[in-house]
Symmetry: C2
Subunit: 226 residues, 2 copies
């Protein structure tokens, strides 16, 4: 029942960003034990990290994600501004860390959980489930997801996104071996982007069911099924 596969960047996705650190290679999927959240942080550093996350969470709850400024977080955690940046790299990193728990659960579910999200179901069905779940999460954690949207340059290189992308590409390759799964995966992931979902459910007022239906239809068309 516990996930047996952890995908590439699984751990990197949840670590701080020592800027120049690059994963040595890009294997498609890696088998890993459950990665340590905090591999070898000094005691004080670990404590500060926790305080920062707690402070950030409190601020989000109080003022919404948009009002979470790095200085405010530092102040609330009674820590220097530099510490925040060293630990989380940048604002996006901090916000991402707040979404970490939910993300991990999601990853466990689609990598090793029960079908249809996890392995065992046919790929098309897994794709449908994957989208449904991502939609649900986008709505649930909307403001954080929006605030955590990476800058354009990083939009496609953020580890979490790459992992999702690789997963979708893998399923596509199984479902439609003759297609350009790389490109199609980007297309599919694009329609699940939190910013788009927010635009559609917010300003455009589309109801959730319509999105789910549209997603399933999209999957059907792209895979030429249904």
């Amino acid at each position: 029942m516990f996930p047996v596969l952890y995908a590439v960047f699984m751990s990197a996705a949840l670590q701080p960003f020592p800027k120049s650190q690059q994963p040595p290679a890009q294997p498609e999927l890696l088998q890993l034990g459950p990665a340590e959240d905090e591999p070898c942080l000094r005691a004080d550093a670990a404590r500060n990290r926790a305080r920062l996350l707690e402070a950030a969470a409190r601020l989000v709850a109080e003022h919404g994600a948009a009002g979470v400024t790095m200085e405010a977080v530092a102040a609330a955690a009674e820590v220097g501004k530099g510490t925040v940046f060293r630990r989380f790299g940048d604002r996006t990193g901090l916000l991402t860390a707040l979404l970490d728990h939910s993300e991990k659960k999601f990853q466990a579910a689609f990598l090793g959980g029960p079908p249809p999200l996890g392995p065992g179901a046919p790929p098309v069905e897994r794709l449908r489930a994957f989208g449904r779940e991502l939609l649900r999460r986008s709505v649930d954690e909307m403001d954080l997801q929006l605030a955590a949207e990476p800058s354009p340059e990083r939009r496609f290189s953020v580890p979490v996104r790459r992992l999702h992308h690789n997963h979708v590409a893998l399923l596509l390759r199984q479902a439609v071996p003759d297609a350009d799964s790389e490109f199609l995966a980007h297309t599919l992931m694009g329609s699940l982007n939190p910013v788009l979902i927010h635009h559609l459910t917010g300003p455009c007022g589309l109801p959730m069911e319509r999105l789910e239906k549209a997603w399933c239809d999209l999957v059907a068309r792209v895979t030429r099924t249904g």
Copy 2:
């Protein structure tokens, strides 16, 4: 031969941003005479606008779009910083204005030019042509396109994008009347996003032909043709 249809926001897309200005309604397409670039600008304002655009263009040529700072532009145009913002709203607005000429030509082409891009060809063929052209433009004007990428909040509300979106949605409605063209249009537009194209052609190193092929294949799948 000259475009007879100008789409909604055609003029708004090319105007400065008096922040609170909203187009009164959202008709799908509007018939308009060629909109004045500068409807009723005071003489000095018009002159400053021209100087700013010229200065910005020069800076882009010299230092690349990334290095174009608002203050630098103001200085180069020998104008106050405030003037830049009043005229163009924000950085994105300024950069967008630089792309204006090319954009107008493109709009004229797909709204009223010769087939397959313009009216006359079957919708699926027009979609293929539309994507090809957008891809070409993305590559040609890459750095400007990237620098002009709007902030997430505006990504889907920027007039130019809405226009493109509406066009694609219209074609989709013709090609697949039973589908959710609104959503599918977002999907298609997402795969033509300059940021994605840059990611694919740059870091990922995909050749242009592959993208064109993938685009055509995507259109075929989405419209269940081919």
